[in-house]
């Protein structure tokens, strides 16, 4: 309920902004909605969204699973941390453009290069967040697990993951949006389809309506995923917290 009211307020603000400014600079919700419908009818929206989502999903899964594993190791093992930390800092601060261009130059203008470049951009962020989580693990519970000879699986499932949950939540939320943004850049520089490609065309024409028509469906999708999937799941996973008092 509150969620809907808040969303309505946001749309209202947007409408207001469109009224007071030039509609060419900030087209209103209705105009954008029309444009979305038009793109949807032509099928272009779905095919582009589909391909972009596939890229987002692939690079996110790649970066997140690798990042979680490396981040956990770096958080737990001092030596690994010391060894990999400089690489991490470098990767973290290398401009996306550099990584993307190098990937395209080396691996060709291919799908693999695109997805790899995005994953490589997101990887250090996942590592950094999960590493902090791994460092903050409670050593008293760790000892308990050791005393009771927890299996590797049980340790992961019952000890580590629940403690990393908030870090995963943070890394996933900000990571998914980061991946989506980098996919847009990658598509802009060297792919022939996808939302980023369309957004760039709209941008070249300075067609804000079309630009928003391609940018917003993903936002709407994420809103839906948050409301219907992530937040109920999160509430379930964190239900033990209510009790702690």
């Amino acid at each position: 309920m509150i969620r809907l009211v808040s969303l309505a307020a946001l749309v209202g603000l947007w409408q207001f902004g469109a009224w007071v400014s030039d509609p060419r600079r900030l087209p209103g919700p209705l105009a954008v909605f029309d444009a979305i419908l038009a793109e949807a009818r032509s099928g272009a929206l779905f095919s582009n969204m589909g391909i972009t989502l596939a890229r987002v999903a692939a690079s996110f899964l790649l970066a997140m699973s690798l990042g979680a594993a490396i981040g956990y190791l770096m958080g737990r093992r001092r030596l690994v941390d010391k060894l990999l930390d400089p690489w991490l800092v470098v990767l973290l601060n290398l401009p996306a453009l550099v990584v993307i261009v190098l990937a395209y130059v080396w691996a060709g203008l291919t799908e693999a290069a695109a997805i790899g470049a995005v994953a490589l951009n997101k990887l250090p962020n996942a590592i950094v967040v999960i590493r902090e989580g791994a460092r903050a693990l409670d050593p008293r519970l760790e000892e308990m697990a050791q005393a009771f000879r927890f299996s590797r699986g049980a340790r992961l499932k019952h000890l580590v993951l629940p403690q990393l949950a908030p870090y995963f939540a943070a890394a996933t939320r900000s990571g998914l949006s980061l991946v989506w943004k980098i996919v847009l850049v990658v598509e802009l520089l060297g792919r022939s389809n996808g939302v980023g490609f369309e957004i760039n065309m709209a941008f070249q024409l300075f067609d804000m309506k079309l630009l928003l028509a391609y940018a917003l469906p993903f936002v709407a999708l994420m809103l839906g995923v948050e409301t219907l999937l992530v937040q109920p799941l999160e509430r379930y996973v964190a239900r033990w917290r209510r009790g702690v008092a």
């Binding site: 520089l189 022939s192 490609f197 065309m201 941008f203 070249q204 024409l205 079309l210």
Partner: protein, 302 residues
């Protein structure tokens, strides 16, 4: 009088400004130029939309599109420079030869040169999108890929084409020839100075002097080696042969015809583009808006 310009740093406008400064042409014209150098062509569009610049450089297709949507922008010819299909493959000499090849297209599917090439090919019964493998990408990346040999041919912007030419590529298909095949009478202006109608009305005189001044700079670059040296500094490190190609292509791109002639040819090409690019490209207008070309600057320019 003060004019605020927002220009791409790597563009040829920078050469001309270098010459203007070196020869004091701005003082002669009684103009004070405030130049914002930008990194990307789109940045200029942002600048003029946001009111941060009076004059930018863009193409008439975009101006017409904006006019069709209600923005009163106008354009004054700047350059006829267009790109070419570059290749190292001697077998490629016409659009027919592109069948089954990998063609890189700089700038993306809405690039004017690409659309014209596509229309031209269609007229000859070749659907390039079906018969060839098309790869879109950022211009520097496409040029590099052509050099790497990953592409059989590349449709490049004029300056990248010049670079490739310097590296042994041949100009297989000239887009200026394509323009003529599609109904143009000569080399058509593609880019121009773009400004607001209202601004033009208020600064008619200053604009005329500005155009005359840049025209003078163009002439100097063509004729005076000292001027060329000043301009070439803006290009960056290239070998002498490539520089020569740059100069040649630049001079070839200087508009030589009257605005009326340009407008007639542009209208012809506009119809072709509207047909192939559809509303997405040209917006709601079906024909070139008559106000697209600015008519008030010619007296001083030629």
């Amino acid at each position: 009088e003060k004019l605020r310009l927002a220009l791409q740093k790597t563009g040829t406008t920078g050469w001309e400004l270098a010459v203007v400064r070196a020869f004091g042409l701005d003082k002669d014209a009684g103009l004070e130029l405030e130049v914002t150098e930008l990194a990307a062509p789109e940045a200029g569009k942002i600048a003029i939309q946001g009111g941060s610049a009076d004059i930018i450089v863009s193409d008439w297709l975009w101006v017409a599109r904006e006019r069709a949507q209600g923005a009163k922008l106008a354009l004054f010819p700047y350059s006829t420079g267009v790109g070419a299909v570059m290749t190292k493959d001697p077998a490629i000499r016409s659009v027919r030869d592109l069948a089954g090849k990998k063609l890189g297209v700089a700038g993306g599917p809405l690039d004017k040169s690409w659309l014209l090439l596509k229309a031209h090919a269609l007229k000859q019964g070749v659907d390039l999108e079906k018969s060839a493998t098309i790869l879109y990408g950022a211009p520097p990346l496409i040029a590099e890929k052509a050099l790497q040999g990953e592409l059989d041919a590349a449709l490049e912007f004029w300056n990248f084409a010049a670079d490739l030419e310097g590296k042994g590529f041949t100009r297989a298909i000239e887009i200026s020839d394509v323009e003529k095949a599609l109904g143009a009478k000569g080399d058509v202006v593609i880019t121009g100075y773009v400004f607001d109608d209202a601004f033009a009305a208020k600064n008619r005189d200053a604009l005329a002097r500005f155009f005359a001044m840049t025209s003078k700079a163009k002439a100097l670059i063509a004729s005076d080696d000292r001027a060329w040296a000043a301009a070439a500094q803006r290009i960056g490190p290239k070998d002498a042969a490539t520089l020569a190609i740059y100069r040649k292509r630049y001079v070839a791109g200087v508009p030589k015809r009257s605005v009326a002639q340009e407008e007639a040819d542009a209208s012809a090409l506009y119809r072709v583009l509207a047909e192939i690019g559809g509303e997405k490209l040209v917006g709601p207008g079906k024909t070139l808006d008559p106000g697209t070309f600015y008519k008030g600057g010619e007296a001083g320019a030629h």
